[in-house]
């Protein structure tokens, strides 16, 4: 499937026109992971936002005692890594693929910011949509009793 078509199915990109989607597709880089492949690790430096085109990933937190536990699974159409893109802090969790042929597209912060500066409407729409996505994740967390464990 054409990447612009994939981006059209992701709520992060709702409100953008076809030309804006094409410009975002131009800075998106495809990667394919096998089950258990780590995409990034908690504490590492983060400079990319990721979009899941196919498959699922697991979000894991490491406790102070060194044990990992899964807190959330994300499937197609979801984004991750946006926190480090926004606040430039270290990765707050580890993300690993849980299915073979999990396909993600990475968007580097510097390329994304350059695009937002060149077309501020892209920046406005995506920042609004990113806030809505974080709000949805927070609502999910509030409803999920496993996050209390």
């Amino acid at each position: 499937m054409d990447l612009v078509q994939i981006l059209r199915g992701v709520d992060l990109f709702q409100g953008l026109n076809p030309e804006q989607l094409r410009r975002l597709a131009d800075i998106s880089h495809r990667a394919v992971y096998r089950s258990d492949d780590v995409i990034f690790s908690q504490g590492s430096v983060g400079d990319k936002l990721y979009i899941i085109a196919d498959g699922q990933v697991e979000i894991r937190f490491s406790d102070a005692d060194g044990s990992d536990h899964a807190v959330l699974f994300l499937g197609s159409g979801q984004i991750f890594g946006e926190m480090a893109l926004l606040d430039q802090g270290k990765r707050s969790a580890t993300v690993a693929a849980v299915q073979d042929n999990t396909i993600v597209y990475g968007m580097a912060r510097d390329e994304f910011e350059a695009l937002c500066l060149a077309d501020t409407s892209i920046g406005y729409v995506m920042m609004r949509n990113m806030a809505l996505d974080l709000s949805f994740k927070l609502r999910h967390k509030n409803l999920d009793p496993s996050t209390d464990l």
Binding site: D68, G75, V98
Partner: protein
């Protein structure tokens, strides 16, 4: 229409998930969250629809009571 669904597992011992679906989940339908399959027990709207998206919350239970619904835990 695309359905962005927040799935939560009954009992709270297994983490839930978020994924986009091309069809609205129905009570009784089966969904895979992580490596485990679950059955949908309840679906409702979590926030109002926007553009081409509906935002749903679904509660699920393991397809079989004997299913291994332990989250991954490593030291």
């Amino acid at each position: 229409m695309i359905y962005k669904v927040s799935y939560v597992v009954v009992g709270g011992e297994y983490p839930g998930g978020i994924k986009n679906e091309s069809e609205r989940p129905q009570v009784g339908s089966v969904v895979q969250i992580g490596r485990v399959k679950f059955q949908v027990t309840e679906v409702h709207e979590i926030i109002p629809p926007r553009d081409d998206f509906q935002f749903l919350h679904a509660t699920v239970k393991p397809v079989e009571e004997t299913a291994n619904a332990e989250p991954s835990k490593t030291s």
